[in-house]
């Protein structure tokens, strides 16, 4: 059968290890005259995927979710997780050690306000909290009359004896035929932004921004080709790239030295202090940069100019080469997905396939393109009720057989050098119920409303989000996540600043790539999501237009399950969109497919009217 190489189905159970670890942490707290500490799920660069050596929260509590924090006091401890992870936390964590709190409803700062007192001394590591985050902690401790104490490195590091070493993934150059713009030109543009912002230098604390600016990629974390590195770009003079020299081949080092001073990470601290001592005004994104960075600058008298990193927007707007790459990646990926869907249609009705079988098969079809560098995130493959768990990750323990009569939701993506993909398809195995088809059709109508949207320059994602929900709202239904997120170019599958969500306040600009992924989830029964990536493009010309008009071009190419569509619920325009989309999928992918898949695809993409 098929094999997954880029993702594991391991189900770590470290619950039993938690008690002695918490005990050791309390001993360390007492030794240092502290009464508590906060341990976030974070590394120094606030990465979505963190290296093993930064999994402090998982090591301490057993909880492996992608967001959370713990506060450990001498007599009690609490773990904060969001709604996605409440169930998982109760399964993974020893709840006699940790109370579970809701990260959004009772965030750590609110808990601190009501649970700490005048005698408390709470430790935090300013490298693991953003400037904004640390400010909230300080205010909360202040309100409680408690002291917030800088402890660096983190207390967990002091007691974690078998901690894995930091990653040393090789840094590679991201070729101009993928990047489309030289690092020299990018640095020049960044300097132009600094002039506009009246800042002396930019601290680049987000490794995605470092990767984009220097046209490099790395292998330090899972699923995203990130090099863990910092940079400083002064308005005048040479930039500095701070990266562990062991990650650089001689050739890569030589090329990078043509661009910037290549320095060790330890030098970064000295460089920030120097900027401070020179009283420079340093731009820094307070929402993502570690509090430690701002402290190093201001403690020596420098000024921190808070605000978005200008690279974020530059990176989000893809250039012509990146867009051509994205289109090519989606054709390649679409062919792999079509092979997977055809295979699934043959195999699943027999009632023998498991979720892990499907994940392994899909990854294998993608690997057979010969160009897959990694999956862009662990595949979400949820049969039946598992599909209703929005961030479900199948493990050997949760794995189940896909049974006829169920819906099967598969959300997956590939990392190719020319582009990052992200696609969700929900397919019927056996005969779907009338309710499933009604809900699927409502989700599809929302998906099409976004895909067909035409909107003037300056429109934000927040202004479009409801288009995707209106047909669910009409039945008293909704979905509890945003409609879409930005996507990087051979970088993170989740990228700011634009998103389609009620919180999406960034304008959608031509060249941005976002997901369009409305869904519907019936707890304990089934999940539905239909996701394509879309590119913001100039809308077809309209004679009387008074404003520049934008629209979406759908990049993702794979059939949407016709068996789940109630054709009579679609308007003529919606049907026309779907039929045209399917015709394009068939015409584009068929030449890349074997005869069997080609026949399957022709049937799967035939016009609805003839159904």
């Amino acid at each position: 059968m098929f094999e997954a190489r880029f993702q594991s189905f391991e189900d770590r159970d470290e619950r039993a290890a938690s008690a002695p670890r918490v005990g050791a942490l309390r001993t360390e707290l007492a030794r240092r005259g502290l009464t508590g500490c906060i341990v976030p799920r974070a590394d120094r660069q606030q990465n979505e995927y963190v290296p093993a050596c930064e999994e402090r929260l998982a090591w301490l509590t057993g909880f492996t979710g992608s967001a959370g924090a713990a506060i450990v006091l001498m007599e009690r401890a609490v773990l904060f997780v969001d709604g996605r992870y409440t169930l998982q936390a109760r399964e993974q964590v020893d709840t006699s050690l940790f109370a579970i709190e809701h990260l959004v409803e009772t965030p750590p700062e609110r808990w601190i306000e009501t649970n700490l007192g005048g005698h408390d001394r709470l430790a935090y590591d300013p490298w693991l909290h953003t400037v904004d985050g640390a400010e909230k902690l300080a205010k909360a401790c202040d309100a409680a009359g408690a002291a917030l104490v800088v402890v660096e490195p983190d207390l967990v590091d002091a007691i974690w004896t078998d901690r894995p070493p930091p990653p040393l993934g090789a840094v590679t150059l991201h070729d101009l035929r993928f990047a489309g713009e030289s690092a020299e030109d990018k640095l020049t543009r960044i300097r132009g932004e600094l002039t506009k912002l009246r800042a002396d230098a930019l601290v680049v604390s987000d490794p995605h921004a470092v990767a984009w600016a220097f046209n490099i990629r790395g292998a330090d974390v899972a699923h995203t080709p990130l090099p863990l590195a910092f940079a400083i770009v002064p308005r005048e003079g040479r930039a500095a790239l701070h990266v562990d020299g062991r990650k650089l081949s001689n050739d890569v080092r030589h090329r990078l030295e043509g661009l910037a001073d290549v320095r060790e990470p330890d030098d970064f601290v000295r460089a920030l202090s120097a900027l401070g001592a020179e009283k420079k005004t340093v731009r820094l994104d307070q929402a993502t940069a570690a509090d430690a960075l701002a402290r190093l600058i201001t403690s020596r008298g420098g000024k921190v100019a808070r605000g978005n990193c200008p690279i974020a927007l530059m990176k989000a707007v893809k250039n012509g080469v990146e867009i051509a790459g994205a289109r090519a990646a989606h054709v390649r990926d679409g062919a792999a997905v079509a092979r997977f869907l055809a295979w699934l249609d043959r195999e699943a009705p027999r009632g023998k396939l498991t979720e892990i079988d499907a994940v392994a098969a899909l990854e294998s079809f993608r690997r057979e393109t010969g160009l897959l560098k990694d999956v862009s995130f662990p595949t979400i493959a949820g049969a039946g009720a598992d599909g209703a768990v929005v961030h479900y990750r199948v493990t050997t323990r949760t794995n189940r057989t896909i049974v006829p009569g169920e819906l099967f939701l598969v959300d997956s993506g590939g990392q190719y050098q020319d582009g990052t993909t992200d696609i969700t398809r929900t397919v019927a195995v056996g005969e779907p119920s009338a309710e499933m088809r009604d809900r699927f059709t409502r989700v599809l109508k929302g998906h099409i409303a976004i895909a067909r949207a035409v909107f003037p320059d300056g429109t934000t994602g927040a202004q479009l989000d409801s288009f995707a929900r209106q047909f669910l709202w009409a039945q008293g239904l909704d979905f509890d996540h945003g409609t879409g997120h930005g996507v990087g170019s051979y970088l993170s599958v989740h990228e700011g600043p634009a998103r389609i969500s009620k919180l999406g306040t960034a304008a959608l600009k031509r060249g941005m790539i976002l997901s369009n992924e409305p869904g519907y989830y019936k707890t304990g029964a089934y999940g539905i999501r239909i996701e394509n990536l879309v590119l913001v493009v100039e809308a077809p010309a309209v004679a009387a237009a008074e404003k520049p008009l934008n629209a979406f071009e759908t990049l993702t190419l794979a059939p949407i399950d016709r068996r789940l569509i109630v054709a009579g619920m679609l308007t003529l325009d919606e049907r026309a969109w779907l039929d045209r989309y399917h015709a394009r999928v068939d015409a584009t992918l068929a030449p890349l497919l074997d005869a069997e898949t080609r026949a399957w695809l022709a049937a799967a993409t035939r016009p609805l009217a003839r159904a």
Copy 2:
């Protein structure tokens, strides 16, 4: 002919008076050792309509718009106005005295940063600036190295010799058959909110909130039955109402004294100081309350808890009696509007009517209901190109004849004790062009999309706003204002906190009344707006609904001009909405009308399909 009593068409021209007044102000500045001052268009309670004695900005500059500010330095002066008023300001103001700046693009604080220097001492009156506004001024002066100096009362008051006296409009009790909830019960609810907010007292600085809480109305400003008054509601103990005793009859005073301590406005300052001296935590809305109020509290050691005034939300959610009143007011108002529209249809095609004739006629029809207390704002009546000026107010100078072939936009409303109305209709005079009909139909489709929206509890106006724009966007068109604002109950026609706009972050709650008023404006040619008031109600039950569902009930009753509708551009659902709406308009209003108007209405409301 008809006569307007509640609105004037006067066109004040005080441009010539401006130079000596600015000269006197500069003399006063020099006398006090100041180098400049800021004069906002504001009174002590940040009212939309201010009494004549508070029209400092108009007196000094000649500019009569409803928003703006001037900064007068020794050698130069600048007037800040927003995009609505740029043209008007250039006409009304002596531009050799005042440079005109854009209030939004270069607000006073930004101008101060780049135009003031270390020697500057800028005066401001903390009674005329909000807490937030004063903070911005202080920051800007700080950045410029200049000093911001408290001068109170305002410098203009010192030189304005023929200043009108403050208004002394009689305070009346707002009867329970209109208010639906006793002031006692309201005060109890407010105290409950204060307990939740952990505040010792609430400073009620918004006169609308004072009017609502004490069930009183007044006559101090135009078009809104506001009593200029302040109040303090402590969490425990008696509330205090600070109002000029000359506005109170013995009976009203007696009734109010049963509710609260009735005190003079001068006592308000002492009461705030006392709260400060007692170290109380006082809730105050920093976005609307005068900076002076916060200063009085904090200067004596009290704590200001910043945040929305809890009354704003309580007032916005109408009770059953207010809702019944609103429905009744809309029937009465709709009949008057129908008489007006029928009259207009007879008279306008002869090409003799002016905009002022129309305004006077409409007011007269409303007065003939016998229950009109005032118009709810000066009627906007724009023929042809005047219709494209969103906030057009006709004066004897701008007045023009309505010519066949034009569109005529009329935005108006009435103040009745049982409800406040606000309606816009755009009518064809003579034969409209194909473009006009296309644009009108797109605006109508947006209006219907809002009217028919169904949305779950917690949905904000920002989430609905784009529904009104989508059909314009598709042609590269848009309108440059929000889709809707909250409306008071025999109070202000503009009321927070909810609105339908991309800035509308308050959830829409059942009982809120908002406007639904998309438009389209072609500069120099015509304006289109279709406005009804809508009430947030529980949506009709849906079997499988997982969330409480809301919808809008349209309150406004008047025909929408069928001659401007391209029926083929409407979906079946849209047509059905319009036909049902028109049938309801006809059935509800016909019994109230004379035979001639009734015949006109029957034709104006017949189903589209038969058109």
